[in-house]
Symmetry: C2
Subunit: 406 residues, 2 copies
């Protein structure tokens, strides 16, 4: 039951009902393909004439296509419909502290081409370099005419409506607008998004049809920082000033280690990759000190993960402690939001069999109900490029989203 905002509403027009139904058809094709007109009519409880009309429009605008006919026990064989994704493309960009990743993908998130380069700290210079690479990529693939837009994902607070990057500490960016410049340089629409939210949007919009994507879920990213993308009632939670989802800065212990945000004992200070490395090196979490030691020793999170997999006790202890802390943090998320599912992304998920029990144990200790304690945790390995897929998702999403009325 949603409230109408009388200061910011969209009234219905003659085309509203038709637009809603056309989107429903498109989503049904996308998630239940192959599907016939008669199938659609049955699912939507409308006449086949109506379906023919709506499908004709979607065929005409290139959203779907007709494929094979299917077997029918009797009568005319149905013509099966498919969503067109393979030749509808997006440019996905993932800007991180040290490297920036680029992917040309289709609308289902399937990678066509990948590229990467060292992140240039100055946003203007970064955009210039990025635009050149995008042009080359599109030219090499003869793809310019098939691209709907560019999705760009950053590790920080983003106003997705205006495209401004409000604060991205890891990049040293504050109140930065790269969207206009990139649109001008590429002649493509550009969408900007916060990294954990983008990961969540990838699950929402590019999830495979096999497993139904829930409408209330959380995506937890474990990397240099710990962040969450929250989806409630089928919509991302951004918050009033676009700073929602900072479960990484929920304190597990008020007397715990100093976090980068200035507070003490945040989930991030216990469970980020840096925190795991600190623990592995046998010292309390201290970002500057730990970074110095890491630079000296050259150890990375992937090293620790490999050592844990190989049975090294110190590595196993470090990782399991992190898992327990993640469990504590997830218990808070579960009590606060009661999501249907929690996706967990980050390198640490490569040790899922080892960390899941520790996480689950802590969740069971603190979740309010038995059912809540059983909230499914779904790992997502870094190798599926969740942030890049998220960048694709923010380009594709407007095509599939419900019309915003009332």
């Amino acid at each position: 039951m949603r409230k109408i905002n009388t200061r910011n509403f969209v009234r219905a027009t003659r085309g509203t009902a038709r637009e809603i139904n056309r989107r429903i058809v498109l989503n049904l094709v996308k998630e239940h393909q192959p599907i016939s007109r008669a199938d659609l009519a049955r699912r939507m409880r409308i006449g086949r004439g109506m379906v023919t009309s709506l499908v004709a429009e979607l065929l005409a605008d290139g959203s779907i296509y007709e494929g094979s006919t299917a077997h029918a026990p009797r009568g005319r064989k149905p013509m099966m419909l498919f969503v067109r994704t393979h030749d509808r493309l997006a440019v996905a960009v993932d800007v991180r502290f040290s490297r920036t990743y680029l992917m040309l993908s289709d609308f289902s998130g399937r990678p066509i081409a990948l590229d990467e380069f060292e992140t240039i700290p100055d946003p203007i210079a970064l955009v210039a370099g990025l635009a050149r690479r995008i042009q080359r990529l599109l030219k090499a693939r003869d793809a310019k005419s098939k691209v709907n837009g560019v999705g760009l994902v950053v590790p920080g607070m983003v106003d997705a409506t205006s495209g401004r990057i409000l604060n991205a500490p890891q990049l040293g960016w504050r109140d930065v607008d790269v969207r206009a410049a990139l649109e001008k340089a590429t002649n493509l629409p550009v969408h900007i998004e916060n990294a954990p939210i983008a990961c969540a949007l990838a699950q929402m919009w590019l999830g495979d049809g096999d497993t139904e994507t829930p409408r209330d879920f959380v995506y937890l990213t474990v990397g240099d920082g710990v962040g969450t993308g929250v989806v409630v009632n089928g919509e991302v939670v951004r918050g009033h000033d676009n700073t929602a989802g900072e479960f990484g800065h929920v304190p597990l212990n008020p007397n715990g280690p100093q976090c980068l945000c200035g507070a003490r004992g945040c989930l991030e200070a216990y469970a980020s990759n840096l925190a795991t490395l600190s623990r592995y090196l046998g010292q309390e979490f201290s970002p500057t000190e730990t970074r110095r030691l890491l630079q000296e020793s050259g150890i990375t999170i992937l090293d620790v993960i490999a050592r844990a997999r190989d049975g090294e006790r110190r590595a196993i202890d470090a990782v399991e402690e992190t898992a327990g802390r993640l469990g504590e943090g997830l218990a808070i998320v579960i009590n606060a939001l009661n999501p249907s599912r929690i996706y967990v992304g980050g390198e640490i998920t490569e040790l899922w069999e080892q960390i899941e029990p520790a996480m689950r144990r802590k969740i069971r200790e603190r979740a309010l109900t038995v059912k809540a304690a059983e909230t499914p945790l779904v790992p997502e390995p870094a190798s599926s490029y969740p942030r890049l897929r998220g960048a694709t998702a923010i380009v594709a999403a407007p095509v599939y989203a419900a019309p915003q009325v009332a």
Copy 2:
């Protein structure tokens, strides 16, 4: 940008656009009254003919009425429209541990009659007694024909769709269905809701037109427990199993006092009324022990509040410690959800001038951004009966809510 759930959607029909526009008109009248047809046409950017038609329907179904004409500098004086609430009634019920409160109110939440009685622990007996009181109340006020339904609010987890009370520990109720019996006994539709969520819904649906109710806000209730009602994107957050909003069980200190939920150091263990009383009595939070001492001494939270107001140091210290803890908890809420506003309900708000600085100080320590740290906190005294108003809201809400399509 909301996702369409292809397994549970509502398609648009011929009447959809009209229904949406009619709801928009109704909400505009409700929140911007008095308002004329021409005003409505301008705000909605539609023709006056269309408005005349929609308004005629709302007049006919009794949602609005025509009032005075208003001044116009030139031309025909406009006929002002008002929402009808004064003779559209709801029965509101607030079931608490020791007493149950009953209110007959109109659709704006204005109380017409109040009643209360001792809560009968057995739900079947409670419903029987409640139904008798409701019948008497309606008969005394000759109101049977004007009542839209009954709203019943409990302190526990509720499946609002089915009306089942999943778990209400304070009442000792688990998996209880009082709705069907109460509907049968009163011949009225019955809506069941969780108490903090109901308080939030009161803000959303019965809020006065003067201050715009935000679409992202949190309602924190401080009483026997500490709970939250969360609204995101104009919709209440219930969670997958209807257990969302339990920010009261977010831990402030993992080694803190034992909470009723079984964990240690929950916000509730630090900031509920019982926790404040424990502190006042100079002992660590222990529900059973504290309750015993309170029973012996006869001291209540209102006593402590009165003493704090009178300047008694021990009472002031107890209350300010609670305020600080609430601030810590609110900082977590703010970082996690970034709401536009936080309403705070409970007896402790009677000392708002004293507790607000302590809360704000803690929030500033821990909120991630300066702007987030300035999230408005709005006190709501117990004397405005937020739970009863919430019960009214859940009856009235379906009349005003946006049609659920797509």
